[in-house]
Symmetry: C2
Subunit: 325 residues, 2 copies
C-alpha cells in the first residue's frame, strides 16, 4: 500500500471557494483506495489458511482483492457487472485472477457469489459487510487528516463518495476522534444512502444510469449503514452534469485524471461548502477511468479556444455516453 | 511553490525494468517546475525595485514568470511562439499578464524581447542565462533526491528533459554533491544539446517537428551548457513514437497526465537504464498538455479491447498531430 499524496490546486480552490485538500487515491496501487480494505481482509484470511478468495464488486474492490490474493498466492474469482469499465477488467486479469460477469445489479452479483462459494469453498471478501474492509477503507481518511495537520492545516469536513458505503463508514470511524465532519456524496441517479436515511434502513432504490460506474450499487450495505447513519453530517446528491464538470475541472485545472466516482466527491464538496471558505478534504477514490470516456469529455470541452472563455470557466455541453448509452 | 510528491508505479517499473521515482512537477503551481526558477529571479528583481518583467519562452517559463510577477503586483509581458499550446496561453492570461506572439524560433522571440525591453524598461527574466533561474530549477532535483532518501531509497541517476538547458544545468548543480548521475533526454527532432556537445559550444540545430512543445528551443543556452557540458553523465535522444508511447504509458499505467516534455524524460530513462534494475529519478517537468492532444492519443490506444492485448503492452499506432501537422 502507498501513502498517497494530498494535493492542492489554487485554481480549483478559487473556482469553488473552498480550500481543497485532495487525497489522491487515484495514485494508489490498483488505482483506488479499495486496496486498503482488501489487504487487511485478505491478510487475515490467508493467516487462517484460506483456499482462495471470492468477491463481488463494480470493479475497484475486485481489483483490490485480486491484488491482495496475488500477494498471498491465493486463487481469486471476482464477480463483476457486465457494464464494468474495460480498464477495470484488464486490471483484474493482469493479476492472474478469474473474472465472472453477472448481470448489472448488486443482487445478481451476490447470487453468483453464493453459487461460487458453494462450488469452490473459497472465502468471500464482502465489500460492505466485512469489518476489516470497512476499517481498512477508513485509513485513507485517517491519513488525509494526518497529512493536512502535518502541513499546519485543519479540515472542517471530508467528502466521501458513496457506492456500497464502506468508504463513508470507514471515514466516520477515522474522522470521529478528530471532530472532522463526514459528508457523503452520491449520484442523484442512484441515491441509495439518501433513501436509506429516509427509510431508517438500507433499501434498494430504482437506479437510473450514472456515469459513475463505481457508485452504481443500488443498496447500502447493512454494516456501513449502521456505522454511517448517525456518523455523517450531511449527504449531498450530485447530478450527472455535475459529475462530468468536476471530472473535467480536475483534469483541466489540476492535471488529475480520476474516475467519475472521485469527481462525484469533488462536486459534492463544492455543493456542500461552496463559497464558505472552509477547509475540505476530498477522497479522490480512484483513477480507473476508461481512456475513451476521458477522451470524449476532453474533446468536448471547447478548450481549443480557451482564450475566448472567461478564465476558469468551462462550458458545459452534452457528453456522449459512448457504450453506456 | 509546492513540494510536489514523488510518485511510484509498479506497472511502469515492471514495464521498463527500472525502479522509477517520478518527481511530479506536473502538479506544481503553474503546471511545471519552471516556477522554481522564476520565483527566485522575480523575487530578486522585485526587491531591487523592478518596474515590470519580460520573458521569452515556449510556454512554461512564461506562465511561471507571469505567476511570480503577479505575486509582486508587477506588470509582465511574455513573448511566446505562434505554435505554443493553447492551454499555456490560457494559463498566462489567467494571471493578468500580456502575451505577445513572435514567430516559432528562439531567435525571433529573443529579438522581440530586446525591442520590448527598450520600449518598457522592464527587466528580462532570461530562461537560460539567469543564474537565479538555473539554481531555482535545480531545487526540483534536490527535493527529489531528498524525498527518495527519506523513503530509504538511493538514486543511481536522474533523467531531465532538455529544452533550453536550465533544468539539466540546475540538476547538475543539485545532484553533484550526492554523487547521482545526471542524464539529459532530448527529442531526436531537436538535438540541441547533443549538437552542442559535439561542437564544444552551443549551436543552432536544424529542428524538425516534435510533439514536445516545451523542448523546441533549437539552441542550448550558454550558461546551461557551461554548467552541464561536463556535468551530465549521458544524453539520450528520444524519437517521436517514443515520446507518445511514454505519454500514453504514464496515463494508462500510472494515471498521470503530463505534457510531452515530461514523457520525453520517462522515455529517456527507459532508454538509459532499461532492464538494469537501477533506481532512476525522472523529472516529470510539466502537465500543461492540450486536452485535444491527449484525447487523440487516448482514442487511438486500442485500449477498448485491453483483454486481447498482452498485459502491459500498448500497441503503437500512428498519431494524428492535429493542428501541428
Amino acid at each position: 500500500m502507498r501513502r498517497t499524496p494530498v494535493l492542492r490546486s489554487d485554481q480549483l480552490t478559487a473556482r469553488y471557494g473552498v480550500r481543497l485538500w485532495m487525497k489522491a487515491e487515484n495514485l494508489q496501487r490498483g488505482g483506488s483506495f479499495k486496496l486498503r480494505g482488501a489487504l487487511l481482509a485478505v491478510d487475515r484470511l490467508a493467516a487462517r489458511g484460506s483456499r482462495g478468495v471470492l468477491a463481488q464488486s463494480t470493479g475497484n474492490h475486485a481489483i483490490a482483492v485480486a491484488l491482495a490474493a496475488r500477494r498471498h498466492r491465493l486463487p481469486a474469482v471476482l464477480v463483476v457487472p457486465t457494464d464494468i469499465s474495460a480498464v477495470k477488467v484488464r486490471r483484474i486479469r493482469e493479476t492472474g485472477a478469474e473474472v465472472m460477469f453477472a448481470g448489472t445489479t448488486l443482487a445478481e452479483r451476490v447470487a453468483a457469489v453464493l453459487q461460487l462459494r458453494d462450488r469452490h469453498r473459497y472465502d468471500v471478501v464482502d465489500p460492505y459487510e466485512d469489518p476489516s474492509v470497512v476499517v481498512g477503507q477508513g485509513t485513507a481518511t485517517a491519513e488525509l487528516i494526518e497529512q493536512v495537520a502535518a502541513e499546519g492545516g485543519r479540515l472542517d469536513a471530508v467528502v466521501i463518495p458513496i457506492g456500497g458505503g464502506s468508504a463513508v463508514a470507514g471515514a466516520c470511524l477515522a474522522a470521529h476522534p478528530h471532530g472532522v465532519a463526514v459528508v457523503g456524496a452520491e449520484p442523484e441517479a442512484v441515491p441509495a444512502f439518501t433513501a436509506a436515511l429516509r427509510a431508517g434502513e438500507p433499501v434498494s432504490v430504482a437506479a437510473s444510469y450514472t456515469i459513475a460506474d463505481g457508485l452504481r450499487p443500488d443498496r447500502i450495505g447493512d454494516l456501513p449503514f449502521a456505522l454511517a447513519q448517525h456518523g455523517v453530517a450531511a449527504v449531498v446528491t450530485v447530478d450527472e452534469p455535475g459529475i462530468v464538470d468536476a471530472m473535467r475541472a480536475l483534469f483541466l485545472h489540476a492535471g488529475l485524471t480520476v474516475e467519475p466516482a472521485a469527481a462525484t466527491a469533488l462536486a459534492g464538496a463544492a455543493q456542500y461548502a461552496a463559497g464558505r471558505g472552509v477547509d475540505v478534504g476530498v477522497l479522490l477514490s480512484g483513477g480507473n477511468v476508461e481512456p475513451e470516456l476521458l477522451a470524449s469529455l476532453l474533446s468536448d470541452t471547447g478548450a481549443a479556444t480557451p482564450a475566448d472563455s472567461p478564465a476558469g470557466y468551462i462550458p458545459w455541453t452534452d457528453v456522449p455516453w459512448g457504450s453506456h448509452s
